[in-house]
């Protein structure tokens, strides 16, 4: 029958993997080489009842950092001293035994509650592994340094390790091939391998490729997670305020007000106000270009006030943004990080055009005043310069539209979108390349067919680019369209290609976007919870305690009554 051993002796200290790999291991285990009992391992049937907590970590949110596990575990020599110390104390405990171990042919090993019988000669084939050293070491002390515990009565060595992984290692000792299971976490598996001193090169090639694939996947996932977390908690800088020189607490309060909309009611109001001002200013910018409004302004003011009401709105908004920006700048704990942040750049871009415009207007008016005094010799030149300045001004005015990006500060979705684009820049670039190629080739083809038709719009390939772009995106304005049969055939091909391309961003980007969005949302949620939780954690605990106490009290009273 199966040998079952249900004793689980998990010592409290769970050591990290540390296999002392010294070269002076004498091969005495090979002396008593007999092949009487090959493999008498036993497996408990109650494997499911043991759930080691470090095999399946929830890698969704809680992995802290990713250290690069070296290819096959380079840092073998961890802390020999500690091991030796432990061995000493163990030997002092087991004083009655003789100092040299009995020359045995089998080794009884108990890993995480499962006991195995291994033959020494098989272990001795791999003298560098932990069990190989255990089998070949001559002194009891050396042996005890290698295992977690030893029981003298049953001659059993105890290891506090994952039995699921050891099953694979056991198979490796008996058959010489190390298999890798898909369901094991790659990192914990590597760690276990490092502990047992078994090297990854014993795995067959196919398994190793799968394993490496999964490891890459995991590290990629972890990297993305770290970046996401950094994105979500950019403003996490409490400790920086402690050692600040000027007005530390005040500045922290200000910082919380500006950056953490969930920290207080005022901060929330601040966030809402910012969004509102952004919307107002953008709408004002749009209304400014409506002709009727411009006419009205001219008629209503009659030249008395050169600035219509919209200009006042604009000024108010810019004043607010400037104030906001300056407050942020004043309260930031880390100027470098502040300067690097993309959101702050957006803020700057939102207010800068206005001031530049003011500056330019100031200069031009000065110029004009100068010219009034001077004779009219530079007249033409100034007109030209004013025209150029006007163009620059128009572009400046256009740059104001970027302040709509300020909304990103308060919208998780927009940030997740930006993050997705940054992560998938390769795929996006690929898509762009496809579209460019489609436009190039189809425009040339249709141009070559169509340019002889009288009255056609396809006058050059550059013009045909526009047609190809409009067709490939299936927008189809209809300002240009092919009229010959061959041209129509090409157009059909172009449209079909466009249809296939248009479906691509959905499947490529959408999956990642939804993933990132939900994660970002979760991070932010936990951050908010932490903010809020700080206050009433104690309160909640006391309340719970009181409830429990009253319940037990009630129970005890009822029992007494009974």
């Amino acid at each position: 029958m199966l040998k079952q051993s249900n004793e689980r002796r998990w010592s409290l200290s769970y050591k990290p993997w540390s296999t002392p790999e010294t070269e002076d291991v004498p091969n005495t285990g090979s002396n008593q080489h007999r092949r009487s009992i090959c493999s008498l391992g036993a497996r408990t049937g109650s494997q499911a009842s043991i759930a080691p907590q470090w095999t399946e970590g929830n890698y969704n949110y809680y992995i802290e950092e990713d250290e690069d596990c070296g290819e096959e575990g380079e840092d073998w020599k961890d802390d020999l001293a500690e091991e030796n110390q432990k061995a000493e104390c163990l030997t002092s405990l087991l004083d009655g035994h003789n100092d040299t171990p009995a020359q045995m042919s089998t080794l009884k090993v108990n890993v995480g509650g499962h006991s195995y019988l291994l033959e020494c000669c098989e272990l001795a084939n791999y003298p560098k592994t932990r069990l190989g050293r255990l089998a070949t070491s001559t002194t009891r002390r050396g042996q005890l340094g290698l295992c977690d515990d030893y029981e003298a009565q049953t001659d059993e060595y105890f290891f506090d390790r994952d039995p699921a992984v050891f099953q694979l290692i056991y198979n490796f000792y008996t058959s010489g091939v190390l298999l890798v299971r898909d369901e094991l976490c790659p990192r914990s598996f590597l760690e276990e391998l490092g502990y047992w001193g078994v090297r990854l090169k014993y795995t067959p090639r196919c398994c190793r490729i799968c394993f490496e694939e999964r490891r890459d996947e995991l590290s990629e996932q972890l990297k993305i997670q770290r970046e996401l977390r950094a994105q979500a908690q950019a403003e996490e800088a409490e400790e920086l305020f402690r050692d600040m020189r000027f007005y530390g607490p005040q500045r922290q309060r200000l910082w919380n007000l500006m950056e953490k909309p969930f920290s207080s009611v005022a901060a929330k109001a601040m966030g809402v106000a910012t969004n509102l001002f952004v919307l107002i200013s953008v709408v004002a910018l749009a209304l400014n270009t409506v002709e009727e409004m411009q006419h009205q302004a001219e008629q209503g003011t009659g030249g008395g006030d050169p600035r219509p009401i919209l200009e006042h709105v604009e000024m108010l908004c810019v004043a607010f943004f400037t104030l906001e920006f300056l407050l942020r700048l004043a309260s930031t704990p880390n100027l470098q990080r502040f300067a690097r942040s993309a959101l702050n750049l957006v803020d700057l871009v939102a207010i800068l055009p206005f001031y530049l415009q003011l500056l330019l207007e100031c200069f031009t008016s000065e110029d004009q005043r100068h010219n009034k005094d001077s004779p009219r010799e530079h007249d033409l030149e100034t007109v030209g310069r004013v025209g150029k300045v006007g163009q620059v001004l128009r572009i400046m005015r256009l740059m104001r539209i970027f302040r709509i990006l300020k909304l990103a500060r308060h919208s998780t979705g927009l940030r997740a979108f930006g993050f997705t684009l940054r992560q998938c820049y390769q795929q996006v670039g690929c898509l762009m390349l496809f579209i460019t190629m489609g436009i190039f080739s189809f425009s040339a083809a249709v141009y070559s067919v169509e340019h002889d038709v009288p009255g056609t719009n396809f006058t050059s390939i550059l013009h045909a680019w526009w047609w190809a772009a409009v067709s490939i995106s299936t927008v189809g304005y209809g300002d240009m369209y092919p009229e010959t049969h061959l041209g129509r055939l090409f157009a059909f091909l172009c449209i079909a290609f466009g249809i296939i391309l248009n479906g691509m961003p959905i499947s490529i980007l959408y999956n990642k976007f939804s993933d990132y969005y939900s994660k970002l949302k979760a991070y932010e949620y936990t951050a908010i919870r932490r903010e809020r939780g700080k206050v009433n954690f104690m309160q909640r605990a006391t309340k719970k305690m009181a409830e429990c106490l009253s319940e037990s009290h009630a129970q005890s009273t009822t029992r007494q009554e009974n």
Binding site: R35, I37, C206, I209, G503, M504
Partner: protein, 493 residues
């Protein structure tokens, strides 16, 4: 699992009742003990377990040829194999088919099946496809590694000419091999773009100049740029051709045909303008030159050489031929139906744009693909209704077959990246192994080929060879030559 249920089945003392057909044998595979019944096993007489029943009479030699060890007292056979795979394999005796447990590497599982002499045909189809997929992937990786190794390996024994040739080949074909090679690749990429743009600019009427005979020709600077680009392309192609190890294979590969097509029109038109004027009429020559000029757009496909995404797209389109056909068929049916309907409904209007059914094909295409140029549009109410229905149908007809095509693309794209990283890992590992092998020769490594000599010698050849076998048969032949490559890799590092 039924295997675990089977585990609890044997009672103590049951193995003593060995009588006639009811032979029970006890096997211990990797520490898991199992009792099996003779009549069950003899269903498949060619398998290892069935042979085990018959061998009991044959003495110890036959027994040890089949299993790793035998305990006569307990009548137990020992096998040093993977117990989990064994649990799956013995299902064949109960159900007649084998399913792979999730998490077991398919190639290893196949080896286990070979060991137990269970034919591969018992493996169920679902698992079989998994196996073949995995095998293809491995072969692909091996091929890639082989390619990279071939590139790396510069044999000193070869002549200087060959070495030079190889250097040029690597320089031009492998942009990732060195920094200058990458620069050249980027330069070539940019030149392709520039020449395409220049070609398009040449057709703008404002930029053209009138030559002495009153014809419009391209601007001279554009012409010069064009010539320079062509010169570069020609040089590149000739260098590639000269350095390629296999000239015929090189000339026939798709990308190189594209290269030829990109440079050929220029030279053909050059010769035509210089020589052809004497033989043909001038207008014919001009028309031919005009046509050839358009052929120059073929150079945009040269970009495919520099973008793995583009290659993946063509591959995906090739593989999803069926879905493309489906898309075309849906569209064709829709076009026929709606153009006919549109034509008949528009007949009542006096100034209809639908002149005939073939004429209205164009309208149907444009409507169903939701492009809508607006050159032909319905004017009657019924016709408008028809148009509305047609584009709704078009949206559905397009959306359904598009998804598998794009799925294919995404799958191949991801696979490509996985393969690339896998090949890289493989190389790193080889390097690592080779460095450790070279680093401490004859040291106390626990490597296979330096097993402690005493056990291997006493073991007899069977054990060691089995070990080697279990290693080597999981390896693709490439890796058996690993040592050869090691030295190569080492020499070029």
């Amino acid at each position: 699992m039924d295997a675990s249920a089977e585990q609890s089945l044997p009672e103590p003392g049951s193995q003593d009742s060995v009588a006639g057909e009811d032979i029970e044998i006890v096997v211990n595979v990797g520490g898991v003990r199992q009792v099996l019944y003779g009549d069950l096993l003899s269903q498949y007489p060619e398998t290892r377990l069935a042979e085990l029943i018959n061998c009991l009479a044959g003495g110890y030699d036959t027994i040890f040829s089949l299993c790793d060890d035998y305990d006569p007292g307990k009548r137990e056979f020992y096998f040093d194999r993977d117990p989990d795979a064994f649990k799956c394999v013995i299902e064949v005796y109960y159900f007649g088919e084998v399913h792979m447990k999730k998490g077991i590497c398919p190639i290893c599982f196949k080896n286990e099946m070979d060991f137990w002499k269970v034919d591969l045909k018992f493996l169920d189809d679902c698992c079989k496809s998994h196996l073949s997929e995995k095998r293809e992937e491995l072969e692909e990786i091996a091929r890639r590694v082989q390619l990279i190794l071939d590139d790396l390996g510069v044999d000193a024994a070869e002549g200087r000419w060959r070495r030079c040739q190889k250097c040029v080949w690597k320089f031009l074909e492998k942009p990732e091999s060195s920094c200058p090679a990458r620069v050249v690749a980027v330069l070539s990429f940019l030149l392709i773009l520039v020449s395409s743009v220049v070609m398009c600019m040449g057709t703008i009427p404002e930029l053209q100049v009138v030559d002495s005979e009153g014809n419009r020709v391209e601007h001279p600077t554009l012409e010069n740029v064009e010539t320079a680009c062509i010169g570069w392309f020609t040089l590149e192609y000739l260098l590639r051709l000269f350095s390629s190890p296999n000239k015929l294979h090189f000339a026939l590969s798709f990308m190189n045909i594209v290269d030829v097509l990109a440079i050929l029109p220029f030279y053909v038109s050059l010769t035509l303008t210089h020589l052809g004027a004497r033989m043909m009429e001038l207008t014919n020559v001009q028309q031919a030159v005009q046509a050839l000029r358009i052929m120059r757009i073929a150079r945009i496909f040269k970009l495919a050489r520099h973008s793995s995404g583009l290659q993946t797209l063509t591959y995906a389109l090739k593989r999803s031929f069926k879905e493309l056909g489906l898309l075309l068929m849906y569209l064709a049916v829709g076009i026929f139906v709606f153009s006919a309907l549109g034509y008949t409904m528009e007949q009542s209007h006096p100034e209809t744009l639908f002149k005939s059914i073939p004429q209205s094909f164009w309208w149907a295409i444009i409507t169903m693909t939701t492009v809508g140029y607006g050159d032909i549009y319905p004017k009657t109410t019924l016709g408008k209704l028809n148009a509305a229905i047609s584009f709704l149908c078009g949206v559905i007809a397009i959306a359904l077959p598009i998804h598998p095509i794009i799925n294919n693309f995404v799958r191949y794209y991801n696979k490509q990246r996985v393969l690339e990283t896998a090949a890289k890992h493989e190389l790193e590992l080889m390097e690592l192994n080779s460095s450790s092998a070279e680093g401490k020769p004859g040291g106390s490594r626990s490597d296979l080929d330096t097993l402690p000599p005493e056990p291997a010698a006493r073991e007899g050849p069977s054990w060691g060879s089995r070990l080697k076998l279990s290693h080597s048969d999981t390896f693709i032949p490439l890796l058996t030559e690993e040592k050869h490559h090691r030295t190569r890799l080492q020499s070029c590092k």
